[in-house]
Symmetry: C2
Subunit: 415 residues, 2 copies
Amino acid sequence: MIFSSALVAQIDELASFSDSPAPSVTRVLYSDRDVQARRYIKGIMKQLGLSVREDAVGNIFGRWVGSEAELGAVATGSHVDAIPFSGKYDGVVGVLGALEAISVLQRSGFQPKRSLEVIMFTSEEPTRFGISCLGSRLMAGSEELVQSLKRTVDNHNVSFVDAADSAGYKIHPDDLHNVFLNQDAYFAFIELHIEQGPILEKEGIPIGIVTAIAAPASIKVEFEGNGGHAGAVLMPARNDAGLAAAELALAVEKHVLESGSIDTVGTVGILQLHPGAINSIPSKSHLEIDIRDIDEKRRNDVIEKVHKSAIDISKIRGVELSEFKIINQDPPALSDKSVINAMEFAAKQLGLEYKLMISRAYHDSLFMARISPMGMIFIPCYKGYSHKPEEFASPEDMANGVQMLALTMAKLSLE
Amino acid sequence: MIFSSALVAQIDELASFSDSPAPSVTRVLYSDRDVQARRYIKGIMKQLGLSVREDAVGNIFGRWVGSEAELGAVATGSHVDAIPFSGKYDGVVGVLGALEAISVLQRSGFQPKRSLEVIMFTSEEPTRFGISCLGSRLMAGSEELVQSLKRTVDNHNVSFVDAADSAGYKIHPDDLHNVFLNQDAYFAFIELHIEQGPILEKEGIPIGIVTAIAAPASIKVEFEGNGGHAGAVLMPARNDAGLAAAELALAVEKHVLESGSIDTVGTVGILQLHPGAINSIPSKSHLEIDIRDIDEKRRNDVIEKVHKSAIDISKIRGVELSEFKIINQDPPALSDKSVINAMEFAAKQLGLEYKLMISRAYHDSLFMARISPMGMIFIPCYKGYSHKPEEFASPEDMANGVQMLALTMAKLSLE
């Protein structure tokens, strides 16, 4: 396992490109840190002799051309953007680990038949523009996304196009369609990722083989009231947009728990009050809600109930429900039997115990599944922590994941 | 009422010094806009021939020296700082209106016996450092404030001393004690202010004579949990700091309503989540709570209950209550009988109907009452709105307020 120490060093170096102090990582789409990370990844790709390509929005492709280059390639990859104050493994293990897998295969003398390709996807995280899996969603041909990117702005009113420009990507509206990939571009896509849940660690199993990805939905809500002075406006005269938001946050939790399934989860990760002064009654509140399930209908039922609660709260409190917008409501994805077979083959060859499992988190694989047979390899992570500085995967677990990925790709490359 | 149009023009000009677009006003302590406003006020003081002084933290004093300069002066004044996205009358009417009252008296040929003084207080609003009535609290001799100002920082980790320096006030720790005023500095202090409540407008009465100021308290609360990925951490494994905050916000409302008095008010004006991403369970939440009453004991009972709720919520949700800090818990203030008499005399002389009333909002007068006989004059404002862009006082009502203030000061000056 000589390669794991190199991988650990690369992970640490990449983590230093951060807008928040270590051990936390903050790396937001098209920021200077994101640009540094992109340069770093392209540098490693070039060291490995891969042929490097970037598309209009900055998805980065490093290809090891196979002996039968006209065949669909076997691809792998993940993302390196990081939400504010998160950790250094989410996404990164699937990019740097994939490059390490290529290196392992190169050093072993392996010659690919189908080309092998490592992809670094642009903006898996929704931090900047509220759109998750921006790069892979676009590669999978989302016309809706093409249209919305033309008018999307971030919280500082910077447009997507201007933000991309500042990172060195000059986008013309027509270029966005060029990001779309054909259905036969890839023979298979496999993503290596930390589990972001506690199961593998708890059960002492080194490898998870993902059979399905849970269906995520995200919602933006805004309430508006009259606001006013915190001392002067008496309680009966108030319509406090902040308290409406507080009630809705608790309603999300209630409806999720009432679904009756352990697989339903709901989160209010963003709750902002305006004007945000201690002596001012909130006149506006903004919530962003994330609801997921492995059962699409059950998830959509929860969304319905949350919508009804928002309407009820606005009536009872006399506030206006000025926005209730479902930003995305993606269907779940299933791993392809052919890819699962290759992963199970690899695990058996390597003598690694594995567990067939569901991904409750959201990945670029969800969208790659629309254009390619898809599979995912999970490795354990400390206490299941993710999206925070305590996120950790051991060098041994990462080494197992890299070997699994290398062997799976090698096998599929020869099919 | 020839003077009201000049006053309206000055109010509009001052409102243009704002960090948010009109009609809203944002003018935060020691910002460039605050510095512009200070220059503007000193300019008018000099035009009126007043003798201008500034103390270490930037309280500004403009004095019209009376014929018996050794006697305690009659002072008036208010503030010009404005919370984010607020209006242009709160505080400003009491500074520009006071200068207009001086101008009226000068033009009438009046000669003061006791000196007359207009004060522009530094940072009545707690926006930047979480400390309300910073200037007047310090003038009233708060040793506690002297100590805390030495280590206070804003949300961007800029210290109070550095912030003051950037506005041109070089503060040495000893200077802060020089801000303290003697008990005999003033014979009387009167503040002119918009009501910030709906009563005068609703009852059609042009003048309010304030007999007491309600007792305000402010509290900072922080909850901490484990956070984690919004998809991967199942509901039973969560300790969501954001939901704890939502519950506490609703508990504040509940306890306030249970006090049984219309005079009890409570507000959660600030509620912040960390890390603040849609796909991240909040690992930290921060609330700032404002609770007021005209009855100090009843207010303190509500604070007790809120504290108990915070503890209960932290236990039930398994989050840590990492902070519950009462930032201030000031006692109420009563107007002085001598000042009330002078205000009633002025109203009768001017033929203005008036109402004896309570100030539910917080003013520099609360602290000036500690070192001087105090009184306040209220004028009606549109729908009772304050701390928002729709805040409005009519030129007629402002003219009445200025005349009331001028005559009250003139009367007290000759006593």
